[in-house]
């Protein structure tokens, strides 16, 4: 069953008298429960695509359809790159933010918040403000907030880019654990091929500006995965080198312009 | 001290009014009011120049603000009113003196008198009507307050039966009248005439009814000016009195000078409309320079009773007419 359907989508920005063609002719179907990673050179329009799905930006042409199965659930929730955690709300209030905005019953909000605080291991820090948290903890808050909102799809824009490699891996494991439980449809942007290999069912590779989907690779490795397994698997190394090469050539193309 | 200066003077009396050898500069503090007529006329008609005196005006918000400047020797001469602060500063060792008249009311056409709000002019017609009214006065424990007090005494109304409103500026009284915040005000020319023309207020009887000899403003001299620069001071006073006499000729004796004095006045004060000068109640200025000494002492007693005076002072040193007398010796006494 297709959850997200994108057809002939394109997006142009007007900057003074100049047009910037950010996305061009994107056609794409994502199935219910799929974890999809979007890879591409910087400035190719990944964020733009996600923002269109999140209804924060309007497409210039084409259609985006998200299949709603439960009218009571919100369509989508987004995990932002960094700083997405609101600094004047405590950890608890941040996690409860989406639920509060939907004006759900207090008990329900409390119970959900509690549950996801537990999940990301922040119960002890519920009363702290974001300034007192490390980068990794902040992203945990962001993830908990999105999951607590229980949306139909989850959109994540490089949530771990600002973390160091070791912390990144811990959070990846945690994300996978929560995801495995809920089996939400996830669209995840990253620059890291290793991250994509570890997390996704499917990797979409975008071209340099204007962004088009130029490669669609299914990752069939068994779950649960780990860095060790990914690294030791020769099949995975092959996929890595393959994507690497293609990405490198796209990046170089951008630099020549 | 005055005897000392007399000696000084005698030594030079061979040619008392020759111009100074070197140009002397005299700084006069003013607040831009009409009572500075003597200064303005003497300057513009060249009386100061005749004695080789160069005068410069420095304008202040009101006479109290001039005192530190006089005391600090920043200005030589100032126009001031008698007020508690003046006496206090003398008690503090600031040796400023009253040296000549700079304003009293002319009978029946006072330049400093009460006005009544336009819409109340038919209700408040006589002194007893002021009972229960709001009356604006521009200073506390100064000549305004004294005249206010004299008026109430004359009206047989106690201070508790009216509301005293302190208002720092005569302009503010106009605004407060327009806004019906006050009923009466102790106002000054040319705002009295201006307010009458703009239907803001009307004259309320006349201050000479109850304070005929009120000494409203005086010329103040700095101690340095009076002692160390005596030869300049004498010439300055002579020139000043000549200016005052021209003023007196025009406004009191109605001698026509082709509008020269009026144009000087219009030039130096805020009343630019020369025709209005024929309407206003002009400041009374004694062409012989003398002040109402008894009234000044009465005012002093009044402030003292109000508890506004700190310390005792010797009244004789405050009023110093020696300069006027010296000048009169030379230029002669003005005959009415």
């Amino acid at each position: 069953m297709s959850k997200i359907q994108i057809e002939q989508l394109s997006k142009r920005f007007v900057k003074r008298d100049k047009y910037i063609e950010a996305l061009k002719d994107i056609t794409l179907t994502i199935k219910q429960g799929e974890f999809v990673c979007l890879l591409g050179p910087s400035g190719c329009g990944k964020t733009t695509l996600l923002r269109i799905l999140a209804n924060l930006e309007k497409p210039s042409t084409g259609d985006v359809i998200i299949n709603q199965t439960d009218k009571k659930k919100p369509l989508q929730s987004m995990v932002f790159q960094e700083n997405g955690v609101i600094p004047w709300l405590t950890v608890e209030e941040n996690v409860a933010f989406g639920l509060k905005m939907r004006h759900l019953s207090n008990d329900f909000v409390k119970e959900r918040t509690e549950y996801y605080l537990q999940k990301v291991g922040l119960s002890k820090f519920r009363r702290l403000y974001p300034k007192e948290l490390s980068g990794g903890m902040k992203q945990r808050v962001s993830i908990a907030r999105a999951f607590a909102n229980d949306p139909e799809i989850l959109l994540m824009d490089e949530p771990f880019a600002a973390l160091d490699e070791q912390n990144k891996f811990i959070l990846q494991e945690e994300l996978l654990a929560i995801w495995q439980e809920t089996r939400k449809t996830v669209l995840f942007i990253t620059h890291s091929i290793d991250e994509a290999l570890l997390l996704s069912d499917r990797i979409l590779l975008m071209s340099a500006q204007p962004g088009k989907i130029i490669k669609d690779v299914a990752i069939e490795m068994n779950r649960p995965r780990s860095i060790e397994k990914v690294r030791s698997d020769p099949e995975m190394t092959k996929i890595f080198l393959d994507i690497w090469e293609q990405l490198q050539s796209e990046v170089k193309q951008t630099r020549l312009k | 001290q005055s005897s000392e200066s007399d000696e000084n003077d005698n030594a030079k009396s061979t040619d008392p009014l020759a111009p100074l050898e070197e140009t002397a500069k005299v700084v006069i503090a003013e607040d831009g009011s009409a009572s500075g007529a003597g200064f303005y006329i003497a300057k513009d008609k060249g009386y100061f120049e005749k004695y080789n005196i160069e005068v410069e005006f420095a304008t202040f918000g009101n006479s109290d603000e001039m005192l530190p400047a006089v005391a600090a020797g920043e200005v030589d001469v100032a126009g001031g009113i008698s007020s508690a602060s003046f006496f206090n500063s003398i008690a503090q060792g600031i040796d400023v003196r009253f040296i000549a008249d700079k304003g009293h009311n002319n009978e029946g056409s006072s330049y400093f008198t009460f006005v009544v709000r336009e819409d109340l002019k038919d209700d408040i017609t006589d002194y007893e009507d002021v009972k229960g009214k709001k009356i604006a006065v521009s200073t506390q424990n100064a000549v305004d307050h004294y005249i206010y007090n004299e008026m109430l005494k004359h009206a047989n109304v106690s201070t508790e039966e009216v509301e005293f409103v302190l208002m720092s500026d005569f302009g503010n009284m106009m605004s407060a009248m327009g806004n019906q915040q006050i009923d009466l005000a102790l106002q000054i020319e040319p705002l009295i005439t201006q307010g009458e023309n703009q239907a803001i207020h009307q004259r309320f009887l006349d201050a000479t009814d109850y304070a005929p000899e009120a000494q409203i403003a005086m010329v103040l001299g700095s101690p340095k000016f009076l002692t160390e620069r005596r030869d300049v001071a004498v010439r300055f006073m002579a020139a000043y009195l000549q200016g005052v006499r021209d003023y007196h000729d025009v406004f009191i004796k109605d001698i026509d000078d082709n509008g020269e004095v009026i144009s000087i006045m219009a030039n130096h004060t805020a009343l630019k409309d020369e025709d209005l000068w024929k309407e206003v109640g002009v400041t009374g200025l004694n062409p012989n320079g003398y002040i109402f000494e008894d009234d000044v002492e009465k005012q002093y007693q009044f402030y003292k009773e109000n508890g506004a005076i700190q310390g005792e002072l010797d009244f004789d040193t405050i009023i110093d007419m020696s300069l006027v007398e010296e000048a009169l010796d030379i230029i002669g006494t003005y005959e009415e």
């Binding site: 924060l56 609101i86 933010f97 509060k100 | 206090n88 720092s168 605004s175 915040q181």
Partner: protein, 254 residues
């Protein structure tokens, strides 16, 4: 740039000693007439005067009256300033409408506004509060608008993404997000309120610290005038500290 334990009390020592040093210098200069003591009475004399005035009782009345005017006038300026500032920050048409008006009125000195205030608001307590309110209004309105405008775009996106309605957006994002810059403006407004009290108490006042200052100056009772100045200075310091404390309470997340 290195911090050692034993030096940590030195800064405090300097902080305390500098005003004391100044006072001592003044005292000596005044006692030995290096400064004209008629105009600069010695601090000890001012202190004696302060005590005398406090004992006679009506000093506290002056303080009470001025503080009432300052606090109410401050509130009277701050509340509309915050409302208009928030509107300006949130809606660009408001911003475009109000900013030229603010630009025009801001440079007009309070002293020059007095006649107009008097005409419009009379000579009662209200006109004094309005004087303070007007002078407080501008910095607070400007800072509030800047505060809203400077909220990081990402929080607006978060709010939108989680479907915050207008009310929630206002109370959960716009208001708390603009608070830090707004409080800077309020801190400035507080300073200005104190600076304005003398001007405000020039219209028909018969009491208050500002009245104390300029009346005593007019009466040439300089020690009393200095008492007034010291009071203003003290309350300036006190309010600053108070607002700083308030700020820390209000912005636990900063």
């Amino acid at each position: 740039m290195f911090k050692k334990l034993k030096t940590q009390s030195l800064p405090q020592l300097i902080t305390i000693s500098s005003p004391i040093f100044l006072l001592l210098l003044w005292e000596i200069c005044s006692q030995y007439a290096l400064l004209d003591p008629r105009f600069f009475p010695a601090p000890t004399l001012i202190l004696t005067t302060l005590i005398q005035m406090a004992e006679s009782g009506n000093l506290f009345e002056h303080i009470y009256i001025s503080l009432t005017r300052i606090i109410l006038g401050f509130a009277l300026g701050v509340i509309p300033a915050i409302c208009i500032g928030l509107l300006m920050g949130m809606y660009k048409y408001f911003r475009h409408f109000f900013s030229p008006i603010i630009m025009i009125f801001m440079p007009i000195p309070t002293l020059a506004m007095l006649p107009i205030i008097l005409i419009l608001f009379g000579i009662g307590e209200f006109s004094k509060m309005i004087t303070i309110a007007i002078s407080v209004f501008f910095p607070v309105a400007i800072n509030t608008a800047a505060g809203v405008a400077n909220i990081d775009r990402i929080y607006l996106d978060v709010a939108k993404n989680y479907h915050a309605n207008a009310k929630d957006f206002f109370f959960k994002i716009a208001l708390p997000g603009s608070l830090p810059v707004m409080l800077e403006g309020i801190q400035m407004g507080q300073a200005i309120a104190l600076l304005t009290i003398v001007a405000a108490e020039m219209i028909g006042a018969t009491s208050g610290i500002g009245y104390l200052i300029w009346m005593n100056y007019k009466a040439f009772l300089l020690p009393q005038m200095y008492v007034g100045l010291i009071l203003i200075s003290f309350f300036g310091y006190f309010f600053s500290l108070l607002l700083r404390g308030f700020e820390r309470k209000l912005l636990p997340w900063k």
